[in-house]
């Protein structure tokens, strides 16, 4: 602590600068970035927000994704000649949603939500989570739909031929198998989502990157806060990948030969 103050003092002046060795300099920057004024608490709060935003966007993305995928698959799997107009209407809405979301950059969506649609609101983090969830939903929907469509249609036919309803065949046969097939893509989508939470800083969301920015805004040492933040994301992603791997292995038990 006393050392830190001393070295920092020496570093302020170019005349005395070369009295400080490289590791002392390193220590000063490190201290500034993480320890001084309990700054690590700011990162910790940032990580907390990042995780909360990810979780909220994840849940919203899955709910939206499942709904949209269900509407679109049910619409596409209608028997020829039997077209339900209500389903057709919702299918149209879902198609527009997916097209618009996938056709525009995430950053632009955030700016529009933050500064146009909710320009009067102050809960930037919430708006960020909402936008990410809506964004993720479109991708999740396409992943789920792809999984449902790629499953051998014979599975659906076998279920129906036994007298099971469309819904029950979906629930017991198609969805469990499709889920297993899409788990790697879903895991990937969620990793992207976790990292994309960093974008909400542009509308003032107070997550991890925001913490780093406000710290190097004071200390003018960008390197340590940014590399620290990068490490945190890396660790989070690795933990997440590991969890998805466990789930995949457990679901794969029906494939053992």
């Amino acid at each position: 602590m006393e050392n830190y103050l001393l070295w920092q003092e020496l570093m302020r002046d170019t005349a005395t600068m070369d009295q400080v060795s490289w590791w002392q300099e390193f220590y000063v920057y490190f201290y500034q970035a993480f320890i001084e004024g309990d700054r690590w608490m700011q990162y910790l709060r940032g990580v907390g927000t990042t995780l909360v935003v990810t979780a909220m966007a994840l849940v919203l993305g899955i709910v939206l994704g499942v709904l949209v995928a269900m509407v679109r698959t049910a619409h596409d799997q209608q028997r020829a000649g039997k077209h339900n107009p209500i389903l057709g209407f919702f299918n149209g809405i879902c198609k527009v949603y997916v097209t618009v979301i996938r056709g525009t950059p995430m950053m632009v969506q955030l700016l529009i939500m933050g500064f146009v649609i909710f320009s009067s609101s102050r809960s930037y983090t919430m708006i960020g989570a909402l936008t990410l969830g809506i964004n993720s939903g479109a991708y999740v929907a396409e992943i789920i739909r792809g999984g449902l469509m790629s499953l051998d249609p014979g599975q659906m036919e076998a279920g129906r031929s036994l007298g099971l309803s469309y819904g029950k065949t979906m629930r017991f046969i198609v969805i469990p198998q499709a889920f297993k097939a899409i788990l790697p893509s879903l895991g990937n989508e969620f990793i992207i989502l976790l990292k994309d939470t960093s974008l909400i800083t542009v509308i003032g969301g107070k997550e991890l990157v925001h913490a780093a920015q406000s710290i190097y805004g004071r200390t003018y040492g960008q390197m340590f806060p940014l590399i620290g933040v990068a490490c945190v994301y890396l660790v989070l992603v690795m933990i997440f990948t590991w969890l998805v791997g466990i789930l995949e292995r457990r679901l794969r038990q029906s494939d053992r030969r």
Partner: protein
């Protein structure tokens, strides 16, 4: 038992079934043969509405199943189907494959369905596979399971679409044996197959399909001994 009147089916402007009428009586074992693309699968799949007929009326057990108001799930519970590609549910054990439909349709309680599954598995000599998954079974074993899975619903009629043609030759026999026993038990059956030996031995009536029509039909003895149509003669020459 199944009555088909003026059944036609088109995919786009491709007419696959051409104004076809037929009746399947209780206890009959109708064997449907014919060249590839003649509409055999489509005909069979129309019988339980896996394909929706373009026009025509199909009646099963007094219910007009082509009427859009009819509850097709209830009808299908009484019509079992065996597929060329077996289609066991890959995410479930063999026992679960068999018990799922009886339990979910309310036909049996869980215990009853389990008992029934045990009985059926014993019948095809596969009880030791009850807790295995489909991927752990041979092709012939899977097809035998698929047949008893359909039987668990206690159907009144069984439809088979080439149940042996995706199997390795050495496994065909075991599946045909199960079907033979089923026939001997008096099940009403409609079977699409290329196994002429089976058709001759088990069939009570042979339908020969070509170009979306039933071109010729007869008892197996007569059909194989004295085919009438030139197309039938050519076909039999190519497969026998």
């Amino acid at each position: 038992m199944i009555d088909v009147k003026n059944l036609s089916k088109s995919f786009g402007d491709h007419m696959v079934l051409d104004n076809l009428s037929e009746h399947i009586y209780p206890g009959e074992k109708v064997v449907i043969i014919g060249p590839s693309g003649s509409g055999k699968s489509t005909f069979l799949r129309c019988l339980n509405l896996l394909e929706t007929p373009t026009t025509g009326v199909i009646t099963f057990d007094g219910d007009e199943i082509t009427n859009p108001k009819v509850d097709i799930n209830r009808i299908r519970q009484k019509m079992g189907m065996g597929f060329q590609h077996v289609n066991l549910f890959n995410n479930m054990t063999i026992r679960k494959n068999i018990t799922l439909a009886p339990v979910q349709t309310g036909l049996m309680t869980k215990d009853e369905a389990n008992e029934e599954a045990t009985r059926l598995l014993q019948r095809v000599d596969l009880l030791e596979k009850a807790d295995a998954y489909p991927s752990q079974l041979s092709g012939g074993q899977k097809q035998r399971i698929a047949i008893v899975r359909a039987l668990a619903m206690k159907p009144k009629v069984m439809l088979f679409d080439e149940p042996t043609s995706a199997l390795d030759p050495e496994m065909v026999g075991e599946v045909l044996q199960v079907m033979r026993e089923l026939a001997n038990d008096g099940m009403t059956m409609a079977v699409v197959t290329h196994e002429m030996g089976f058709a001759r031995e088990v069939g009570t009536r042979i339908l020969f399909m070509d170009g979306g029509k039933i071109l010729e039909q007869n008892t197996p003895q007569e059909f194989f001994a004295h085919p009438q149509e030139q197309r039938t003669i050519d076909f039999l020459k190519s497969v026998l």
